[in-house]
């Protein structure tokens, strides 16, 4: 009896905490279908004017485009730099490895505001502030740790006997990589590149101080709008971003579950 009372109290606590997590995510949706010019909840009336305005407003569309360009550039550059590094770190033992590991993880631990201050001055003298290139170069640094962690985790789980077998059959190192290593690791490569893309797309602090007006990213525009006035575009962007996240998270869970079910059914399916 006492046990059941305690269990149900744990249940109630659990549901309250889940509601605390979920409620703020959901509240942005009705806000975007409101007609009120300010942050009024619940909205006094419903409409899709905010969406119509958003998709005709270059002050929102340009930063959105900038963010896509910058995130794409940063994720490609990060992959080019980190893929060879991950192979070196996982497959070789050498003097200075521990130190290198710390260096590769440094951008994850150092607060963004500190490096933003550095970029503000450094990129200023290099004429890289207010350019797409400047933001790409900065975001690449910030994406290095996440991509490195993802790739090295995948590499550690890679069975090297596959490569040895291919080499024994006479394949050159390059062919081994192209026909064995890369195809096996391709999903991990894609996930790592996606992490880099999202990291850049969401990054606010550095973009705030170096992207300027010409290369303003979506988070920068979002931040400015939220600080100055209650711009309804913020509610629209929030809802759209939330929709993308829900699709991606729920979609990836469904794919994983389906793959697991297929594996259980056996190789014949």
């Amino acid at each position: 009896m006492r046990l059941r009372a305690r269990l149900s109290m744990l249940d109630v606590t659990t549901w309250l905490i889940l509601a605390f997590i979920a409620a703020p995510l959901l509240i942005v949706v009705p806000m975007s279908f409101s007609t009120a010019p300010s942050l009024e909840f619940p909205p006094p009336a419903w409409g899709i004017d905010y969406y119509r305005n958003f998709f005709h407003d270059p002050r929102w569309l340009q930063p959105t485009l900038n963010s896509f360009i910058i995130a794409l550039g940063a994720s490609i550059l990060t992959m080019l730099l980190v893929v060879p590094a991950a192979f070196a770190m996982v497959r070789h033992r050498f003097f200075g490895r521990a130190m290198t590991n710390l260096l590769l993880l440094l951008p994850l631990t150092a607060p963004h505001i500190v490096i933003a201050l550095g970029y503000y001055s450094y990129f200023g003298t290099m004429h890289l502030t207010q350019t797409h290139l400047g933001v790409i170069l900065a975001h690449t640094c910030l994406s290095v740790p996440m991509v490195f962690l993802t790739l090295s985790a995948a590499l550690k789980g890679f069975d090297r006997n596959l490569e040895r077998a291919a080499a024994n059959l006479g394949a050159s190192p390059l062919r081994v990589f192209r026909h064995v290593t890369f195809p096996v690791l391709r999903p991990a490569f894609l996930v790592a590149a996606l992490f880099a893309f999202v990291q850049s797309f969401d990054e606010t602090v550095v973009a705030l101080f170096i992207s300027g007006r010409d290369a303003a990213t979506l988070p920068r525009k979002f931040f400015d709008s939220m600080r100055t006035q209650a711009d309804p575009g913020v509610a629209v962007v929030s809802t759209l971003l939330l929709a993308v996240v829900i699709t991606a998270v729920v979609g990836s869970r469904l794919v994983r579950r389906r793959r697991m079910r297929l594996q259980r059914l056996g190789p014949g399916v």
Partner: protein, 283 residues
């Protein structure tokens, strides 16, 4: 052919890792270490070479107050995340049904939703025309208390934003705890409370350390949420640095604050690395 390749591989082993690492190391040196170095150098050379900024920082009551407030806020947010995260992770780890998947999905949704979107959501909830203010009016508290743009609102939002980090750190450790150990303790006569205190909790401790370290470090350098939701008169260190860049630009002074923030963060990471090992933090 294969033999020749493996022989060549053995001979090149010494320089091969450095060749593979060269691009990323050179890149980070130019585009990460150099700008970081500029901040460190500027803190003792701008406008003239001296330690005056540091002397000011550690003697002026204002800066010490900001530093203290930053650490206190990080501590409160960490405890808040632990208080909410532990029961949730515990409930998820002890369950074994499809509901766990739904809970994990919700935590993942929150995790992947931009900080800015979640900050905006709290602005709506706690704002003048939001549901919380309306609720205060409903119970006759009129005019309702000012909640938005206070330390309370930014602290609450930061707990919400950093909670997924805590839950994931705790859950990943808790789900590996062998259920047989708990059953064994109960078979030996331990009460549920004793089982929790002497078996489950000690085994979950690594998750607590990981989650708290991560949340504390992230909160220490948090810029966006305190600036947008917090009190302008009671900024945290990161907000003050941003304010310096935007309005006054005393680069030396801003750099000094940045170095203090950087060293505080790296100091904590170093302690964690010494006792646990940095690779476990994101494991």
């Amino acid at each position: 052919m294969a033999v020749a390749w493996s022989l060549r591989g053995a001979g090149s082993r010494r320089w091969l890792p450095w060749l593979l690492l060269a691009p990323v190391l050179v890149y980070l040196a130019i585009f990460y270490i150099a700008p970081l170095g500029i901040v460190v150098v500027a803190s003792v050379t701008d406008p003239t070479p001296s330690f005056a900024h540091y002397r000011d920082f550690f003697t002026d009551g204002f800066y010490l107050q900001v530093l203290g407030r930053t650490f206190l806020t990080a501590l409160i947010v960490t405890l808040g995340c632990l208080l909410l995260g532990y029961p949730l992770a515990y409930a998820m780890a002890r369950r074994d049904d499809s509901l766990v998947l739904a809970m994990l999905t919700l935590v993942a949704l929150s995790f992947w939703t931009s900080f800015l979107v979640r900050t905006y959501a709290w602005m709506v909830i706690l704002g003048n025309r939001g549901p919380v203010t309306a609720a205060f009016r409903l119970i006759g508290w009129d005019p309702p208390p000012e909640i938005l743009f206070t330390r309370f609102s930014s602290t609450l939002a930061m707990v919400h934003i950093l909670l997924p980090f805590m839950v994931m750190a705790l859950y990943s450790v808790m789900k590996k705890i062998e259920p047989a150990l708990l059953k064994a303790a109960q078979n030996l006569g331990a009460s549920p409370a004793d089982t929790f205190r002497h078996v489950f909790f000690p085994l979950s401790a690594p998750g607590v350390v990981n989650g708290c370290t991560m949340v504390f470090i992230l909160c220490l350098g948090f810029y966006v949420t305190p600036v947008l939701l917090g009190s302008p008169r009671e900024q945290m260190l990161a907000g003050l640095i941003g304010h310096q860049i935007e309005e006054l630009l005393d680069f030396g002074e801003a750099s000094t604050m940045a170095v203090v923030l950087l060293l505080s963060t790296l100091g904590l990471v170093a302690i964690y690395n010494r006792f646990v090992g940095i690779d476990k933090l994101w494991g």
